[in-house]
């Protein structure tokens, strides 16, 4: 089920809010879990079993780790390894098996072998990348002694399956909600702020991301970017940059808002990333919950910056490569991770300053944005070859072909959306800052936007969130 669908907004959410409000405190976690399973299983009920299995394994292993540590009979290392194997095994099979088989087949065929495995493609369960990272954080933090075990399986199930952030984040570490799972406050102002986040998220997703999505789709639909004009190429990737930002941050806002309405405080995921003056800063502002997860559980585990400069650079690059692979099982995502890692290493070499650090602020922001755009080419393209061709078109090096007319086919609504997205990006603070202040004027302006988004949601076909595929 997606947030921006009639069935969610007009059936599921009212039913949930009603049920949650009427549930006694002791049953609220159970209510959340039950609704979350309906939410998750709506399109593929069988995948609920997978999530349930993952939850059972980690709850059991986590409990064993905690008991061993409490009794002093061990540190739970074996259980931790088992948890990692189980979670990464699930993720590896469901997310990367097809990729591995395809790569092996390509290599074998290049060597003259048939390379036919008779492999049946595995269907990727929605949100598996997010919830496996969450359950892993639980066992790792227990192993590190930084959290207490969940007080009940229902509480743990509630943590893993909580529908607001289940399928597309933010990645909520157990430590963040540990206290709230046991006891949390339900306040008017918390609910109100949640409403503001939810309304902002829906408006961002529907009025901005969805209205400009056609521009990017059209530009990237040009086969191998043949004949894609310079301006069309820039228009397409700029539109995509805003689309993915408002789509994903809109989803995060909705998740945070729904969490607040239930009394949970989820981590922020975006902080005006296109205000960044370097790629290093960009990664402090973009998909923050993933950045933090990778930093704490991968980069530091690899040694962080504690083993000398060379290892620091290697760790940084490796973390970003794996971060890229986390997004999708394809070489262009790995290349995207490598691209980001390259710039982080370059900036780290220059003392954490970008090579354009002497330029005025506006120029630094602009250059960072352009560097991000080239990264998004790798992210959005259908493959590495396509990405190279597209980037070539952005540099005016595209091969000659039938001229495309991405700009000419862009409707007034899409132009309006694009200009509004740009204006909002660079003139307004991030939504969490707006929601934190909740200025009455802003709240009143938000209401027609929210209602317009609901109307536009009826108008357009179902447009899923981009991060669902990861």
């Amino acid at each position: 089920m997606v947030f921006s669908s009639a069935v969610f907004l007009y059936l599921f959410l009212p039913a949930f809010l009603l049920a949650y409000a009427l549930s006694p405190r002791a049953l609220k976690a159970l209510t959340i879990s039950a609704f979350s399973f309906v939410f998750y299983g709506w399109w593929r009920p069988d995948f609920v079993l997978l999530m349930l299995a993952s939850s059972v394994i980690d709850y059991w292993l986590g409990g064993r780790i905690a008991r061993q540590r409490a009794a002093g009979t061990g540190n739970g290392r074996r259980e931790l390894v088992l948890s990692m194997v189980a979670n990464l095994g699930l993720l590896g099979y469901f997310k990367y098996a097809n990729f591995g088989v395809d790569t092996a087949r390509t290599l074998l065929q290049a060597c003259g072998f048939a390379g036919d495995f008779g492999w049946t493609a595995v269907v990727l369960p929605v949100g598996i990348s997010f919830y496996t990272f969450q359950t892993m954080s639980y066992t790792i933090d227990l192993y590190r002694g930084e959290v207490r075990p969940a007080s009940s399986f229902i509480d743990f199930l509630c943590y893993v399956s909580m529908f607001p952030q289940l399928v597309a984040g933010p990645i909520v570490r157990y430590a963040v909600v540990e206290h709230e799972l046991r006891t949390r406050e339900h306040t008017w102002y918390g609910f109100y702020q949640g409403v503001l986040f939810l309304q902002t998220g829906i408006a961002k997703k529907v009025l901005l991301a969805d209205t400009i999505s056609g521009i990017a789709d059209r530009a990237f639909a040009v086969p191998d970017a043949q004949g894609l004009g310079l301006l069309d190429a820039w228009l397409g990737i700029t539109a995509y940059a805003f689309q993915i930002y408002f789509d994903f941050s809109g989803y995060s806002d909705m998740a945070i808002g729904l969490g607040l309405m239930m009394g949970f405080k989820f981590p922020f995921n975006f902080d005006s990333p296109y205000h960044s003056q370097s790629i290093t800063e960009f990664w402090r502002r973009w998909h923050m919950s993933l950045s933090n997860w990778l930093r704490d559980y991968l980069y530091i585990a690899l040694g962080g910056n504690r083993k000398g400069p060379v290892r620091t650079y290697v760790n940084l690059a490796l973390t970003m490569l794996l971060g890229g692979l986390w997004h999708g099982a394809a070489w262009n995502f790995v290349a995207w991770g490598g691209y980001q890692g390259f710039w982080l290493v370059i900036e780290r070499l220059a003392g954490k300053r970008p090579w354009y650090g002497v330029a005025p602020t506006a120029v630094r922001v602009a250059i960072t944005f352009v560097l991000a755009l080239f990264g998004w080419v790798l992210f959005r393209a259908t493959g590495l070859g396509h990405a190279i061709q597209y980037a070539g078109a952005m540099l005016g090096l595209g091969p000659a072909g039938a001229p495309t007319n991405v700009a000419a086919l862009t409707t007034p609504l899409a132009w309006t959306g694009l200009l509004a997205a740009a204006a909002i990006t660079w003139t307004l603070p991030s939504s969490q800052r707006l929601a934190a202040r909740a200025h009455p004027l802003w709240v009143l302006l938000l209401q027609p936007c929210f209602l317009a988004a609901l109307l536009h949601l009826h108008y357009q076909d179902n447009v899923p969130f981009l991060y669902f595929q990861f």
């Binding site: 059936l11 430590a175 008017w188 922020f268 991968l298 009826h458 357009q460």
Partner: protein
């Protein structure tokens, strides 16, 4: 992860910035009012919509023809486990949402009037003209699907003609190809394709009504701005062109007309956008003329055929002739008025005329109208990937054309078809049941060359129970696909597609639970097989590249369209070889009847229609490979009709 860190600062800890609400956001009176408005808006929108949609659902839109069939199939196939049932539920919710309809009635006009934004299925042109997006494109570039459809229409026309019925096809020009000045400059509707389609129909011998010339003289708008249908002016002129064609070129005069009424375009915009009537107040009003005949007693459309006696002219049409309310449009009113006789309107609101044609053939109860006017929307020929893909339904309703005889299969004297390949499963007996069953009869590839111009027909006999079976006749390109329904014990389908075929297939697919007591599979033809004239084979002689053999034909009449040359070609070895057949005529000229690659032991049925009027005296075969031990055999097969 790029944050500066030391060993101690890198300890993983929940140091994420979290959404921490504060009571300060409702500290002032203004803030509290704002909070009430925001929360109230959300709850009202969510719970209000839920209540209205659940307590007062709207009637779902009525679908027609193939869209309705697809929806039913989708619903029947929906399952819980794969999520398709959930998607169906969402679709149903969308269709019956009253709040959605009310909301869109305001939102869509607002978007259209402020930003010229239209739903994805439409394109907004100049001067408020709307176009259907899918009709703006051309489905293919090599013309194969169009030519296949044209050939099938030509066969239908010929078949009906042999049954004593005149088929008149009215290819409706696409709005996109007619109002070219209103098409946005970034789109190309390829108007030349409409001209090409009409030319292809004419070239194939299909009698058509070309409305383009009469339209070209009209200063009035021919299409509604907000709708893909004609204005009364366009419909009236199309009716005049059609009536003139029915009267074999004699243009009838117009009865007296009242054209004083004017109607608003707003309801058409609302209808095209799929909106409630509520939206009409917000949409552009515009206006167009409405016409009606002043004098009673002139020809009228009728919805039902007479109980007995000959049938009136049948109009097998689409929503250009009958709207969703079941009412005749001005086109058919005008046609009947101009002709001064009743027109039996079997049109269906929808986009395909096949339903209307089938409906008329069924309701005629054995009678077929002397004239059938087939309304054919241009985009069905040009913009869809499989034009008239379901025309087999019409063939199945027709009585067999007179003069069909069986073309023997396997070893027999004279010209025969090769026997199906070993392993063919389409054999007499009981088939199907618990599993999906696929039955196949195939005449070997490279061993049989045949024309795809309805020289051959496939006849299947059997009793089907438990549901429909899918029958596919012929192979690429574009085999004919038909539904075999229980109660129908005989299917007769023409082999008609494009060019010549090399792999003659007949497939029958029985879904799970469907059984077939199959009786027979025959190939019929309207060639005079019994009266075939055998050629006298001369001695084959070697050439530098292979061999040559002359086959003398007995003195005969000049060739007629549809005559064929049947050949048994036998050469040493198993590999396919090249061959050519040159015809020698009584006037001393020669022409190549066919050249290409054929199996070493092949049966060829070569159409000779291109040489109609000329008298053949001999056929000369040239082939590579070794000298054959057995002479080539050939027959001149005359069309029996």
């Amino acid at each position: 992860m790029s944050r500066s860190s030391t060993s101690s600062s890198e300890r993983p800890a929940p140091r994420e910035a979290v959404a921490a609400p504060s009571a300060a956001i409702v500290a002032t009176r203004a803030q509290r009012i704002a909070s009430l408005i925001a929360v109230g808006t959300l709850l009202l929108a969510l719970f209000g919509s839920a209540a209205v949609d659940l307590l007062s659902p709207a009637t779902p839109p009525k679908l027609f023809g193939i869209e309705a069939q697809k929806r039913e199939q989708r619903r029947a196939a929906a399952h819980f486990l794969d999520g398709s049932l959930a998607r169906e539920f969402e679709e149903r919710l969308r269709e019956t949402s009253r709040m959605r309809r009310l909301g869109l009635a305001a939102w869509v006009p607002l978007l259209y009037r402020t930003l010229s934004e239209v739903p994805a299925t439409l394109i907004a042109g100049r001067d408020g003209v709307l176009f259907m997006r899918d009709r703006m494109t051309v489905a293919d570039n090599d013309g194969t699907p169009l030519q296949v459809a044209v050939n099938r229409l030509a066969v239908l026309r010929h078949w009906l003609q042999r049954l004593g019925t005149r088929l008149l096809v009215v290819p409706l020009p696409r709005k996109e190809a007619t109002l070219t000045s209103a098409v946005p400059p970034t789109y190309d509707a390829h108007p030349e394709r409409d001209v090409q389609a009409r030319a292809a129909l004419r070239a194939a011998g299909v009698e058509i009504v070309d409305v383009a010339p009469i339209w070209a003289q009209s200063p009035e708008p021919l299409f509604a701005r907000a709708d893909s249908h004609w204005t009364p002016t366009g419909a009236g002129l199309a009716a005049l062109a059609t009536a003139t064609a029915i009267r074999n070129g004699v243009a009838p005069t117009w009865p007296r007309i009242d054209s004083a009424h004017a109607d608003s375009d707003a309801w058409q915009y609302a209808s095209t956008f799929g909106l409630e009537e509520l939206a009409t107040n917000l949409l552009p009003a515009g206006g167009h003329v409405v016409m009606r005949f002043l004098d009673p007693g002139i020809g009228k459309p009728v919805a039902e055929p007479p109980v007995d006696g000959p049938l009136p002219i049948q109009l097998a049409g689409t929503s250009f002739s009958r709207n969703a309310a079941g009412t005749h449009t001005w086109f058919v009113e005008a046609l009947a008025g101009l002709l001064g006789e009743p027109v039996w309107n079997t049109a269906r609101a929808g986009i395909t005329p096949v339903d209307a044609l089938v409906d008329g053939l069924r309701r005629g109860k054995g009678r077929i109208a002397a004239t059938i006017v087939l309304e054919l929307p241009g985009h069905l020929l040009i913009s869809v990937p499989s034009p008239l893909h379901d025309i087999s339904r019409v063939f199945l309703e027709l009585p067999p054309p007179p003069g069909l005889t069986e073309l023997p299969i396997g070893a027999a004297a004279g010209f025969t078809l090769p026997a199906p390949q070993r392993g063919s499963t389409l054999v007499p007996g009981a088939h199907g049941g618990a599993e999906i069953t696929r039955l196949l009869a195939r005449v070997a590839k490279d061993q049989f060359l045949y024309p795809r111009d309805a020289t051959l027909y496939v006849e299947l006999r059997g009793k089907l129970t438990g549901g429909n079976a899918a029958v596919t006749v012929d192979s690429a390109p574009r085999p004919l696909v038909a539904d075999w329904k229980p109660g129908r014990e005989r299917l007769l389908l023409p082999v008609v597609s494009l060019g010549s075929g090399a792999m003659f297939d007949v497939h029958v697919r029985l879904p799970q639970g469907v059984t077939l007591q199959f009786e027979s599979f025959r190939v019929l033809t309207d060639l005079d097989v019994a009266g075939a004239t055998a050629a006298t084979a001369g001695r084959a002689s070697g050439t530098p590249t292979g061999f040559e053999q002359r086959l003398a034909l007995p003195r005969s009449d000049p060739l007629a369209a549809g005559d064929c040359l049947g050949v048994f070609l036998t050469r040493p070895g198993a590999e396919p070889l090249t061959a050519s057949f040159d015809l020698h005529f009584a006037d001393g000229t020669t022409a190549t009847a066919w050249s290409g690659t054929a199996g070493s032991k092949a049966t060829l049925l070569l159409p000779l229609g291109a040489f109609a009027g000329r008298t053949p005296t001999a056929v000369v075969l040239r082939s590579d490979g070794k000298l054959p031990g057995k002479p080539t055999a050939a027959w001149l097969l005359r069309r029996s009709r």
